[in-house]
Amino acid sequence: MRILVIEDDALVADAMVRGLTQSGFAVDRVSSAEMAEAAMQRETFDLLLVDLGLPGMDGFEFVRRVRRAGSGLPVLIVTARDGLADRVNALDIGGDDYLVKPFAVPELAARCRALIRRSKAAGNPQVVVGHLHLDLPRREARVGGEPLELTPREWAVLECLALHAGQVVHKERLQQAVSSWTDDITANAVEVYVSRLRGKLGEAVSIRTVRGLGYRLDES
């Protein structure tokens, strides 16, 4: 997974490069939008990490140009400005997610991973979360290469959680994901499927309960 970091502050950029490299990404860094455009002509990247306050062409303009050129590359915007206008703008101009400085390195890595996974899932029907591997068209789940026996409803719950790994999935959403087979599935039923899944998944990944809200699938 290759990430292009566009950040003019050397200290921040260095931390991003180190942190993401440690998390297993290949990382290139440039300090201006103009340099980023040149780099993107030479190489292919899986994610752009863009600081909004850049010298010369600013981050807004850069992302707008990337999108105008028709690129669907995931873009994570990193900004020191957290005003409402800035947040709305960041997403409006075509950013996929934003992170306000200062940030924790693990969170940065997690966001990058989630964005890349989401963009891959769109074209590639394989989802990988830690040791869990889902083949979406064949409805097959494997843990460390071993196939898992899942009922259709358990599969539906796991698929929904895995597609949004690292994010809280609301109970209502899981209910809807399961309801395509029968008329109404209660929230309690969802709990039952989740607890069965936990049993089958073991230590491979963890499904965490957010009381009253839903569940989150994380790498163990």
């Binding site: 502050d9 050397a10 200290l11 921040v12 260095d14 931390a15 991003m16 180190r18 942190g19 440690q22 306050g53 020191a80 400005r81 957290d82 005003g83 409402l84 947040r87 306000v100 400085k101 200062p102 940030f103 924790a104 390195v105 969170e107 940065l108 994010q167 809280v168 609301h170 965490r208 957010v210 009381r211 009253g212 809200l213 989150r216």
Partner: protein, 469 residues
Amino acid sequence: MASPARGFSIRRRLLLLLSAPLALLLTAGVLIDYFSTISPLSAAYDQVVASSIVAVAAHLDIGADGRVKSELSDQAIAVLRADNHDEIYYLVLDADDRFVAGDAGLPVAPEGRDNPSFADAEYRDAPVRVATYRMKTASGVVLISVGETTNKRRESARNMLSYIVASDVAQLLGTLLLVWVGVRVGLRPLLALRDQIARRSARDLAALDESPVPSEVRPLTEALNRLFATVAEAANAQHRFLANAAHQLRTPLAGLQAQLELLSSDLQQHGAADPALRERVARLHTGMQRLGHTANQLLALARAEPSANPAGDFRELDLADLAKDGVAAHFDRALAAHIDLGIEAESARVSASDWLLRELLANLIDNALAYTPAGGNVTVRCGIVASGEIAPRSAFLEVEDDGPGIPEEERVRVFERFYRIASGEHEGNGLGLAIVEEIARAHGATIELTAGSGGRGTRVRVVFAARES
């Protein structure tokens, strides 16, 4: 705003200042009118009495020896005494003051400048007006007195007085009405200005419309408009400053914090020989996190203040969405602290600033997580409270924990900036609840700080003003 204005009202002052002297003028007017009408009236009645003297005098026969004899016939006397309202008396005394004719004992008016002279006296237990004519004869002065009871005079004086009072009171009421209307109409531009100011939102810094403002007040509105302009410029400057400060502070903080994070994980991985070194880096890292947190809090607090926050930010939103996002965003921290973070959300719509409320909720959850020991529970709730029977229903957002709670005597103080609970050895900066309060105030919401359910822990509830319909 209303209470200091109550003590002093220009309208009341004008009405009072005008009506008190007007009432005095009325009293003086009544007196002047009364006395200026009563004396000609009295003179006219005196004239009638005097003419009776002439009739009596005409019938006196004064002999050569000076003896006086009355030749008034009974018929003439009857004519003389004829009156519907008053008794009429007469008396004739000769030069030696001997009784000649008439009603003995009728008082005699003392001699005055005029002849006949007049006097008020009493006769047969009733007040009388007496006229006495001193007729010079060869033998001396003959006195002819005619007296008349005062019924007619008193009657007409009374009539006169009530007429005068009635007409003057009518005039006064008319004048007061004109004054009242005049004051009202005259003050109308001032009241319009007052309403214009009262209608404004506290965040509105636009200039006042000066077209209906009278010239006396114009210096005031001009000063206000200059002030508004200055404040608006200051707010803009503050806005720019905050945006710049945010960028200039956060970028190096982000760099330092991330570098320290990496350094500490490097040391961990490479199993650095010196555990004290790892400890020092870990401390630096924690300190840096606190610095970053405080910088964020200070910026949030500054931006929550009304002057930095234009009203245009407000829109319709559902507290349940906000609460769900808030819980999801804090789930990792709760997980790390081994605290069960949960939510009980019902849909509750409010008009609010989305990012301000997110900031508010983030601070409430942060606090709850910081002050709740491992194994504890933190619950975010939102919904509708019915306040009172005639249900204007208010939306609320609350965070409850089952930590050690806040002692009753500290509950007011915790909203002060930089205040920290004495007993806690926690790493707060004391800004969280100040931000919450500032944001609640910007939304016209109230904060209730109580113990949690079962008397344990802390519950902070933000109640939004009830909405119509």
